[in-house]
């Protein structure tokens, strides 16, 4: 999530109202106020609204929401006369370039910080960690147009930002902190992306690092913005968000010619929507006029076009408006969620439990009747508990997660019984007898199904107890079974039985083997059983 710092003075000046009014309402446009400090507030915005990742963007939205200034913000753009060439060799490396000239900026420490943090938030939310979009900001007056976006050999040298020595691009990936962070995006390409000026001075090695030459300082008056990436739309959105934020701060935006096209235009996108569709979806009464008013409050341009139609101008910075319903959400926000009448739907329906859960509830009931206490172990466990300590072979259908968090959580459970023994270990110091059960999901390859298992430990726990309890459970669940001597090494030879239904083993019971007790560090005998709930008549096929 993006947490944005909003300095009160700056925010108040841009919004043209006091901070209390702003902070009281900012949550209603979709945010969480994280911290209120002496001179600023930290507010978290959602990743679908990168246009709110700067004080300028928040002020623009709040002016609309508070009725201070509604409708579309228009950003005039005139050509800068500056051009960029794009090397066709970048087609499979990092093909997309966006750029703009931003004139007449007046930086102080705070506003430089603000634009840097907008840049970082965009790298995260739009740029997917710079792989999809990376943004560079340069002091325009340190270089000479035209500019060239080229595919360069890796041995090209220049002085990267924050350094005094020049080094090769290959070296930067190893030595420069940013190089190390983002090397994975470019390291496999034969050539690296590079932006140079007329005199072959390096502006940037996107998406890694800018050159020291074009560093932005408090004296910077004019900015060249470069935005490179792999996705045309995402690159465009990043350019639009930065340019409109800078324009809100008082700068003038000029376009750059890339491949014969002037960019950016900062022009809105037109969309025609149905008032009735919006009204029906939200469950509120709307006319074209009221809906247009609500959208203008959210800084859209909106004009009724007949009784049911609305022509909407979507600002260039609203990357999240992909579909008409995205506009309807803004209508709902402008209307106020608290004003929408909350009424459950009228259609009559009858509740229906799922048979698997019905079975599970019956199994729980029977276990409780036998005096067993329910536990709910994790479903992620490891081979040591599931197999090694149990003296059992690893199951074919066990699933290994590809990037486990720890060695404790490497596989999804295929049995419940080992987890119950682990529970007994955890509760060694508690009063005996302990009778524990669990009912729940296990997996066999990609298939999920339910098992039930019970353990009883006390000095007299034995085969007879395991058999009697297993028999009672199977009887209560109408499982018609026979028993065969078992070979399960988790149990003592001659004190173990396989539960057979229709010729297939569905479970096992008996007295846990002393070696297994040792492995789980248990001191008393354990009568145990487990069985597959798919043996319950009527268990649904998933």
């Amino acid at each position: 999530m993006a947490v944005i710092t909003l300095p009160y003075k700056y925010l108040e000046r841009l919004t043209r109202t006091d901070k209390k009014t702003i902070l009281d309402k900012v949550a209603f446009i979709g945010s969480d106020v994280e911290r209120i400090e002496e001179d600023h507030a930290d507010v978290e915005f959602f990743p679908d609204r990168p246009d709110l990742f700067s004080p300028e963007g928040v002020a623009r939205a709040m002016r609309g929401y508070l009725g201070i200034e509604t409708g579309l913000s228009v950003y005039p753009v005139k050509p800068s006369g500056i051009s960029f060439t794009v090397d066709p060799a970048l087609a499979n490396i990092r093909p997309v370039l966006g750029a703009a000239v931003i004139r007449g900026v007046s930086f102080d420490d705070e506003s430089i910080q603000s634009i840097m943090s907008l840049q970082e938030s965009l790298h995260w939310a739009v740029g997917r960690g710079r792989s999809k979009v990376a943004i560079g900001i340069h002091d325009l007056d340190t270089v000479k147009p035209p500019f060239h976006y080229i595919a360069s050999t890796k041995s090209r040298k220049f002085i990267p930002l924050d350094y005094t020595e020049s080094m090769t691009m290959d070296e930067m990936l190893l030595k420069h902190p940013k190089g190390r962070d983002y090397a994975k995006i470019v390291k496999d390409f034969p050539l690296f992306p590079l932006i140079v000026d007329k005199d072959d001075h390096v502006l940037s090695f996107p998406p890694i690092i800018n050159g020291e030459r074009t560093r932005v300082t408090l004296d910077t008056k004019n900015i060249l913005l470069d935005t490179t990436g792999t996705d045309k739309r995402a690159v465009g959105v990043a350019v639009n968000i930065i340019c409109t934020a800078m324009a809100e701060a008082g700068a003038t935006i000029e376009s750059v010619e890339i491949g014969g096209v002037q960019t950016p235009t900062l022009a809105p996108v037109e969309r025609t929507v149905s008032v009735q569709e919006c009204s029906r979806l939200l469950g509120i009464e709307l006319t074209a006029v009221t809906m247009a008013g609500l959208l203008r409050k959210m800084r859209f341009g909106a004009e009724p076009a007949g009784a049911d139609k609305l022509n909407v101008q979507v600002p260039c910075y609203r990357a999240d408006i992909m579909h008409d319903w995205d506009l309807f959400e803004d209508v709902a926000i402008a209307y106020g969620y608290d004003r929408i009448i909350a009424a459950p739907p009228a259609t009559f329906t009858v509740g229906k439990p799922h048979p698997v859960q019905v079975n599970a509830a019956l199994a729980r009931e029977a276990f409780c009747g036998l005096g067993y206490l329910e536990v709910m172990p994790f479903t992620l466990t490891n081979e040591d508990v599931l197999y090694k300590k149990m003296q059992r072979d690893e199951k074919n259908g066990v699933l290994h997660v590809m990037h486990p968090i720890s060695i404790e959580n490497t596989v999804v459970r295929t049995e419940l019984l080992p987890l119950l023994l682990e529970f007994l270990t955890l509760n060694r110091h508690r009063e005996l007898p302990q009778r524990l059960f669990t009912v729940g999901d296990v997996v066999d390859s990609c298939l999920t199904y339910q098992q039930a298992a019970g353990v009883s430990t006390h000095p007299d726990a034995d085969f007879s107890e395991a058999y009697a309890s297993a028999d009672a459970m199977l009887h209560e669940l109408s499982i018609d079974y026979t028993v065969k001597e078992s070979a399960d090494a988790a149990f003592i030879d001659g004190r173990r039985g396989d539960i057979i239904v229709a010729g297939k083993k569905i479970g096992v019971f008996g007295e846990i083997h002393p070696a297994v007790l040792n492995a789980f560090e248990l001191e008393h005998s354990v009568a145990a059983f487990e069985f597959d709930l798919r043996a319950v008549p009527g268990y649904p096929v998933l």
């Binding site: 008409d324 969620y337 909350a342 409780c368 998933l542």
Partner: protein
Amino acid sequence: MAELTQNEKRLLAILEKEKKADAPHLAGLLDATPEAVVQWAHLAGDKGFATVERVVVKEYIYTDEGKAYAQNGLPETQLLRFILPGTTLADLQKHEAFKIGFGQLRKKGLVKVEGTSVTKTAGASTDADEAAIRNPSGADPKTKDLIKRGILQESETVRYAIAITTAGLSLVKKGLDLRGESGTLTRDQIISGEWKTANLRKYDVTKLPKKAWPGKIHPYQRIIAEMREILLEMGFTELYGGIVQQSYWNFDALFQPQDHPAREMQDTFYLRETLPLPPGYEKVKAMHECGGETSSTGWGGIWKEEKAEQCVLRTHTTSVSIQYLARNPNPPVKAFCIGRVYRRETIDTTHLAEFEQLEGIVMDEGVTFGNLLGILREFYHRMGFEGVRFKPSYYPYTEPSLDAEVYVEGIGWIEMGGAGIFREEVTAPLGINYPVLAWGLGVSRIAMLRLGLKDLRYLHKSDVAFLRETPALRHTKGGI
């Protein structure tokens, strides 16, 4: 005053005659063990009817060596008897008692050795020693000597002298019901009618019982069951589905872009397994790439089949409900699912890599955002939360989206779940032509509040004592 047991009464009745006696003596009269008598006397003593006096008696017993000496005389006595005029030291050395006895005789000055002859001193006698071995006494220094020599052993015996008090005497005088007392009401007594005259023992009801621990379902399961019942009452159909899901159903069908951060290895548990895509997946592909036939633009870019085929541990139960919707595209559909979901989170007190999620969906002609708010309000009210409010939020597959907050006394407003209407980008490729209201909430958050847990892991790695002591019925107030 607590009732006297029958045994206490019997004891008092005997004591009325005996006044004061040793426990073994009373035990003989009462046909019981002395220990039992002492216990009864203590009970009667607690009520002021008897006194129990603890008397420590020292006793002396013979060691094996001592037993032989008591019979045959001490070694020195035996030697003394053997010494006659003319007895030589060599004669004496042949006597079996020589080793011990001769030293004693010398020490006590009872013999004289001159050359090879041994003679008694005048008046030599071991009578006093013999008396000491026969009648040991704590006051006799000779007894101590015999203890040192390992001939006698001292042992302490505790005896109890039991006496009746004046209150006890007057109680007996008033008359005691000395009929036989039964501990258990027997089958014979019930059938024969003997119970009419039987004297059933009365228990002290103020004493705490021995703790019995019933078999119970887990307190967390109870909360899950409560939510399940509420939703069944509200007319929802319960769903159940697999833990392992294809990325297609977990992400792609829900219009989650393939480069979405939540899909990365750091956030989702991926498995090596893959499953073939279901028929009709091309529509989902088209929706991602260009918005299909809707007013949407789609995400752009190229949608890759192989990314969708990869299996994951489901990150939400929506992967189950979306498949149910795809199979049941005709309205009305009202369904819910409560199940374990997985996020690749670092495990700490408030974050687990697996937790229960509750999810509900409603698909019907003409259902609205207002209806969604209505369902949520109703559900949270039934859970006991009186204050419910909604605010804008963002979820990739719903639009409009909201977060529900409930008011908890002493804490304030807390976020309880997210909701929204499935985007048309989600529903259209699956042939669902009506709005789908959807909401979800983390069940463990409510459990943590209700059970007062500081560590979520406790739900799954529980202390048996906690499970035993948490009552089945917890009084909840304001949902907590």
